[in-house]
């Protein structure tokens, strides 16, 4: 079924009786060409681009819970391409271009809103660093504008510009940055993949990966064994457990990142605003809630909930930056489990086992990467070679030290990002 404004009106007139389920609920077949472990944003987009770009449709996505129930449903929905290092820069640039055509491509409203992202700076040194980052973004073909203090004031008049500790000096404005409706991204890709013949199999936990003579031959699941020539592990948040089924130890440590939303308010924050000094970022959802978050809790966790000290820190940072939000009441907070890699950059690569592919290590930046990641992973699975936009995301960079992408410049070691 094709969606359109006319269809919405028509169904409104006849009591919404004409809608059909958005995807099938098939039983697993005994064999597929490609199995994707993980029905989150990255797994679903990989399935979609395998079918659309490469014509590979004998594919199943195996999800232990429900589609989009992991990190793609637990993030702060920010979409941006403001990376600095070669390797990251071209990947996120490509991903943002895919975002810009995504709704037409999927025939699905993902509510992508390019409302602009402003990264604030608070010292001369930070201004220089952001100007340099802006130049890197422009060189990559993306957009960046360095705003001075008055420039920021025009967009964000509600900030505490004269905060004694972190006065606002200006900001790096990325007009094409913004937000999207996170669940709709998963649903849109799921629908698109299903329409092209991909089997989306929920409640189907993978319990083992079958390997014979250094080659993957299939997986064991809660719903029986399934054979396949190629298997992709796309399970950020549980990467270490799934990779362990293939005898692998990954350069990943799992951490919890918290996010928060307030009660619905009238429109007051028109952009995505980030405050690096306090590690705080905020936008306003279309329902009116202020969606914001901070840094990871900084200890290993799979709990999907965090502790009070980071909540306190995030609230303090928000109050320091924009005191006007102090009257808003927080409705909910939650946590997502981040695959933290040593250098803070992701992995899309083959493994030492033939036919077994790995997509993991998205740290706290996986949501905006969903289109680019699926595109590149599908290319890798279909052709055997990395896509040019993701050629830097190699697994062996930690062993060799070649090609490390430490975007924050804090060191390519665990617990520094």
């Amino acid at each position: 079924m094709r969606y359109s404004g006319l269809r919405v009106v028509w169904e409104g007139l006849r009591g919404q009786t004409g809608w059909s389920p958005v995807w099938r609920d098939p039983d697993p077949k005994p064999e597929y060409d490609v199995l994707i472990i993980g029905g989150g944003g990255h797994g679903l987009s990989t399935a979609y681009y395998l079918a659309k770009n490469h014509g590979i449709t004998n594919v199943a996505v195996l999800e232990k819970g429900y589609l989009g129930g992991g990190n793609v449903g637990r993030n702060t929905t920010i979409v941006r391409a403001n990376y600095f290092l070669p390797g990251n820069s071209e990947f996120y640039s490509h991903s943002l271009k895919l975002w810009e055509g995504l709704e037409a491509d999927l025939n699905y409203n993902v509510m992508h809103s390019q409302r602009g992202l402003i990264n604030l700076f608070h010292s001369d040194g930070q201004r220089d660093a952001f100007a340099r980052r802006g130049n890197a973004m422009i060189n990559q073909g993306d957009d960046a504008i360095v705003l001075d203090r008055e420039g920021v004031r025009r967009y964000l008049p509600y900030l505490d510009f004269d905060n004694p500790r972190f006065p606002v000096y200006g900001g790096l404005y990325h007009p094409r940055g913004g937000t999207a409706r996170h669940d709709a991204v998963a649903w849109g890709y799921a629908r698109g993949a299903d329409q092209r013949g991909v089997d989306l199999i929920q409640q189907c936990e993978v319990t083992g990966i079958d390997i014979e003579g250094g080659r993957v031959t299939g997986v064991q699941t809660a719903r029986g064994a399934i054979k396949a020539k190629k298997v992709a592990m796309i399970v950020a948040g549980r990467s270490s457990q799934v990779a362990a089924m293939a005898g692998m130890r990954l350069p990943i440590e799992s951490h919890v990142l918290q996010a928060f939303v307030t009660e619905g308010l009238k429109p007051c924050i028109d952009h995505v605003v980030s405050f690096g000094m306090g590690h705080f970022y905020i936008s306003q959802s279309d329902k009116g809630g202020l969606v914001f978050g901070g840094d990871i809790d900084f200890y290993a966790s799979y709990a999907q909930r965090g502790n009070l000290p980071m909540k306190e820190h995030v609230m303090e940072a928000g109050m320091a930056l924009m005191p006007m939000i102090g009257q808003a009441r927080v409705l909910r907070s939650w946590g997502g489990i981040m695959d933290m890699s040593p250098d803070g950059s992701p992995i899309i690569d083959r493994t030492h086992i033939d036919g077994l592919f790995l997509n993991c290590g998205w740290c706290y930046g996986g949501f905006k990467a969903v289109p680019g990641s699926g595109y590149a992973t599908a290319h890798l699975i279909a052709t055997g070679d990395p896509h040019e936009s993701a050629a830097g995301f190699r697994l062996d960079r930690f062993a060799t030290g070649v090609g490390l992408m430490d975007e924050e410049g804090t060191g390519a070691q665990h617990n520094l990002h």
């Binding site: 270490s240 350069p251 990943i252 799992s254 290993a300 502790n307 000290p309 040593p342 665990h414």
Partner: protein, 86 residues
């Protein structure tokens, strides 16, 4: 989450800094195989369950090992480094 410093007793999480997997105590020899160094520096078991990890108590300056469940955040026990190395 509260942690128990082996010297100061149970204290608020804010007094502590996480220092990573207790694997750090098992430093390979200088002439060890490079793959041992990669396992030491980068690769992790990263269990969803009980893990052994290093913490630093900023108030008394002690490094110690905690055996903590990463799913429930419950700490089973904490050990001084001397106890942990036994």
């Amino acid at each position: 989450m509260r942690l128990t410093c082996p010297y100061c007793g149970e204290r608020d999480l804010r007094e502590f800094t996480y220092k990573g997997d207790a694997l750090a105590l098992l430093r390979p020899n200088e002439d060890a195989d490079p793959s041992d160094w990669t396992d030491y520096l980068h690769n992790r078991d990263n269990p969803a369950g009980v893990t052994r990890e290093l913490w630093y108590h900023g108030c008394c300056g002690t490094w110690f090992v905690a055996e903590r469940d990463t799913v429930t955040h419950v700490t089973k026990r904490t050990l001084t480094l001397a106890e942990a190395r036994e």
